[in-house]
Amino acid sequence: MRIAIIGFGSVGRGVAEVIAAKTTGLIITAVADSRSGIIDGSGLDIAAILRNKQATGMCGTPDITVSDIISSDAYDVLVEVSPTNAETGEPALGYIRQALAGGKHVVTSNKGPVALKFEELHALAADNNVSLRYEATVCGAIPLMHTIKHGIAGNEITRLYGVFNGTCNYILTRMAEEGLTYQQALLEARELGYAEADPTYDVQGIDAAIKLVILANAVWGMKKSLSDVDIIGIDRVTTAAIALAEREDQTIRLIGEIDPANEIIRVSPSIIPKSHPLVVRDTLNAVTIETLLAGEITLIGKGAGSSETASAVIADLLFIRDCYGRRD
């Protein structure tokens, strides 16, 4: 199967390295970053492209654009791993639309398009008999979508809740364990690269809420958008509040929750017993899936990071290879 990678930052490079290093039956035929592109229908020399990217900041030449790649017939699966735009989803949304409409499979780590236009993209993929996979958009390396769609297929999911943002979890863990103030813990998270220079998106619960939107639409077909989520962030949580919870063997974590029967979709700091499986440390994510047949299932793992995101993208690619690859 021939792969085109759009976005050659740390995730894109990570995906390329794994494909180049393993015998997966996948070959990379096109790569583009924001400034350049390269296409070779018979397969690219990934090691050379990685060296070129490191030396010049470009993976290919400026005269080949993302549009050239997407409208070409040099690939079977589009790997869309460019940076997220949560407001418009562009330009990734346009790329994904065009690839699906052209009968190409799509694997993306890009939350924006999936959260904003899930219904449209899902229908477009179905109409063209191709697969749209987005494991990396929710909880990084945790195989959450795969578990729900395949691992426990046939179960009715009654409720889903958990820790969906590693930055917030790190800050709350440090406030609880070291008695740091919110500002001190945020500063530390920034120094360690766990928080962006502008942490608004994480600490105000927006990132977690976007993941809930994707899950609500993908798991229950709910047609929700970000404005349907009740969102409270962690930026007003005090160290004293956490200490009050800890006195009773409890703590505070930012919990995202979808409870369809009670019409709840919310992100909010919540009091939770310290013995609860969702109380994970540092930047980990954890999600509990409540089902009718299987009972409760809790998944814990790394929710962010380039190799973790690449892991989810690779898993989606190999799933598509196994389902569709032999037809080629």
């Binding site: 007003r236 949580v237 005090t238 004293a240 509040a241 009050l244 409870d259 009670n262 919540s270 939770i272």
Partner: protein
């Protein structure tokens, strides 16, 4: 509750039977002979959970069986829920906040722990409210959410609080 009964075989069963008959659950029984009351009388302390509103029926059944009820302890409300409020609790009339729950008649503020770091900084308060059923606790929590919104508090509820 504290009961007084004759020290003769079968008397303990006559106390336990009515509790069981109304669907109660006995948590502890302290059964002792008080040297001061002497000979044939026995003091018995029982702690039990019984269905809402069944206490009067139980007491009249004890009277019918000639068991003397010396004292009925505090009738404890059973459902508790803790929340944490962050904000200017004192400056926004804390009595009013508490009274909004206490005046409902079905729930009350049971415990408050407050940490006030410095003047003009928001305080953090753990509040436990209690009631005798889950439905009323949820009604009380809904009132607290309204109060929190009106007074600008951050309200942190427990995960199981649905």
């Amino acid at each position: 509750m504290k009961l007084e009964m004759k020290d003769s075989p079968g008397q303990l069963v006559s106390v336990i039977q009515p509790i069981s008959d109304i669907g109660g659950n006995i948590l502890s029984v302290i059964h002792e002979r008080d040297p001061e009351t002497g000979g044939d009388l026995l003091d018995l302390q029982i702690m039990c959970e019984i269905p809402e509103g069944s206490l009067d029926a139980l007491l009249s059944e004890f009277r019918r069986r000639e068991i003397n009820v010396l004292r009925v302890g505090e009738e404890r409300l059973l459902v508790r829920r803790s929340i944490i409020l962050i904000g200017h609790l004192i400056h926004t009339n804390i009595s009013d906040t508490i009274d909004r729950i206490d005046s409902t008649g079905y729930a009350e503020v049971h415990e408050l722990s407050m940490v006030m770091p410095a003047i003009n900084e928001p305080s953090s308060t753990r509040m436990t409210i209690k009631s005798d059923c889950l439905k009323d606790i949820n009604r009380a929590l809904a009132i607290l959410r309204d109060v929190a919104r009106d007074k600008g508090f951050l309200i942190i509820e427990s995960l199981e609080g649905n």
